[in-house]
Symmetry: C2
Subunit: 359 residues, 2 copies
């Protein structure tokens, strides 16, 4: 088992990473109250709910279950209300622990419910996708979507504990595994060129789900994210670097309808666009972009976005929250392994970046 500690001004907590952790009550014991709600979805429930529920029940925790519908389109007010209603029906109080068992959709939704039910109750993340293990379960960003924008309603709210059981990844569809790899590659690009080279060297074995390599990947990414979050909990500065590829990616997700392109797929194509924008700014060259695109392809990820009208690209991106006071802000690369914030006022740079991808 590997352990990463996250330190934020508001709270510190451990992330445990390893195979079989869902069988180890000692990890949960210091952080869980007498009563807990396990919140998951209809896909994950038949796979892991019984195991986790039994583990807690056998150790004296009073457990109840809330099962949401599966999909990004259910990361919304209805699911949130389903959680609130069930918590109230079970007389959940301010010490009841909410456990998010699932991927990023479950983690974000349950985290926001935990942040807001009775102004905040204890919360544990049990991420079951690669994306949620390396990214969404760490750092305390929680949210649901609004019909007019992704993650528009949310809170910064830290979990008490994150338990990433690598065994849960064995049932993950290959396409979802790849989506998680998009965020892994993103970490390398924004902050660690040695990690980029290491990934290029091991990409084939990682894609075959080698347990030993995966433990290293997850722990390395969590450590990188923990370091960034420690420095900037509420995204006033450097934390924004984690959004590399995301302004373009969110536009792709919004345009295609949430859930049709996976978040990670959109981030992969969006990150290649961020590289192209960096070329326009003169900080990357075409070879750098080609190197990035190739790694995404080896991870079975798209390296080009779908085509749509330039106006639609711009409209989606100006709705994105990285817009501040009218300027468009993008995370770009100063070089491979180093990100920067670029305020774009010259729209022709965006046109050139996107010109192959517009209709």
């Amino acid at each position: 088992m590997k352990t990463v500690h996250v330190h934020t001004p508001s709270h510190s907590y451990p992330i445990y990473i390893g195979a079989g952790l869902l069988g180890d009550f000692s990890l949960f014991a210091p952080h869980i109250g007498k009563k807990a709600a396990i919140i998951t979805n209809e896909t994950i429930a038949p796979l892991y709910l019984q195991q986790l529920s039994d583990l807690l029940t056998q150790n004296g925790v009073h457990v109840f279950h809330i099962i949401l519908r599966d999909g990004e389109q259910f990361k919304n007010h209805e699911s949130l209300n389903q959680i609130y209603d069930a918590l109230l029906a079970h007389h959940a109080d301010r010490k009841t622990t909410l456990i998010a068992l699932g991927g990023g959709v479950i983690g974000d939704t349950v985290g926001f419910a935990a942040a807001t039910y009775q102004r905040g109750v204890p919360f544990i993340q049990v991420p079951t996708t690669l994306l949620s293990q390396v990214d969404s379960s760490v750092g305390g960003k929680t949210a649901i979507n609004h019909p007019l924008g992704k993650n528009m309603i949310g809170a910064f709210y830290q979990p008490k504990l994150v338990v990433a059981d690598l065994n849960t990844l064995h049932s993950l569809p290959a396409r979802e595994f790849s989506a998680g790899m998009a965020e892994v590659i993103k970490y390398a690009l924004l902050g660690d060129v040695d990690f980029l080279a290491w990934l290029e060297q091991h990409i084939n074995k990682i894609m075959q789900c080698d347990d030993e390599l995966l433990a290293q990947v997850v722990a390395h990414c969590c450590q990188m994210k923990a370091d960034i979050v420690a420095e900037d909990e509420t995204e006033q500065g450097i934390r924004a670097h984690l959004n590399l590829g995301h302004t373009f990616g969110h536009a792709i997700e919004a345009q295609m309808g949430y859930g049709n392109w996976l978040h990670g797929e959109a981030v992969a194509a969006g990150t290649v666009l961020a590289c192209r924008l960096s070329e326009q700014l003169g900080s990357l060259n075409a070879d750098d972009t080609a190197r990035v695109a190739q790694l995404f392809r080896q991870a079975n990820l798209p390296d080009t976005p779908p085509k749509f009208a330039l106006e639609q690209w711009l409209a989606h991106m100006s709705h994105d929250k990285k817009v501040e006071n009218g300027k468009m802000r993008f995370i770009t690369l100063a070089r491979l392994g180093a990100a920067q914030i670029s305020e774009i006022t010259d729209m022709s740079l965006l046109e050139k970046t996107l010109n192959k991808f517009t209709v």
Copy 2:
């Protein structure tokens, strides 16, 4: 003008108290961005919206308005969504300031919207009721109601600034003014017996809205609340004392239907019940309770609750969030001027407290 500073671990901010402050842009200038939404209701809009909107516009702030329906029954998801929708329609970004112009209902709803829109945007409280000036605008508790319970969904989120213009109280209905006095008297009871005596001495002039006395009342209460909040921002301990009378009060509000009894009226009757429970615990005597009841009557407030079945009292109170792990917790008085937390397990004490008020 009087100033009280609130210091919390997460944030520090000033409360300005005085007559005519809605005409003074210099108070707002350091805390407001280029774009602001003034959010108020249909009753307050014709009274003060133009004045505040002009003040900001004339000083270069881009202002838009959101007008909610008036009433505790609209402190709900629909109003919250009305705010989100309008913010998105106006392309509000993470630097857009939300200004709550109104009483506690507006302050709580707008505060929660500010806490959760794009994971938190800047927020200014402009309280226009006595209750909101002495209580709800200070301390960062925000919430909306759920059909199954009051304030069930919320967050701790501090404003950047509170501007309490005493002139706005002149248009306040007498019944609402009295409701605010319930919280004023509550402060005296839970922490300051000298202030209790001062209130008894000046109650008639205060009820006639004497400006000089009112400034003292508001500043004194804000200072008391600020001290408590500084010690305990998220209500782990002493902040719970502010709930004196509120467990009974919330039961009255819920039983009578939100909005039929005003919050302050329910708190007045609830505080007398808390005195009676303190009698059962042996810490107050009947004379103390009579003294408290008389002051509430002088403030034109009820000193007795409506009658309903004991089971209903208990059902409402066990839904209240002051229930932890099944025990019922009440704030009671160790003596006049000093509160304490009492865990009640012997239900006969509650029966005796409530026996005159059950059917």
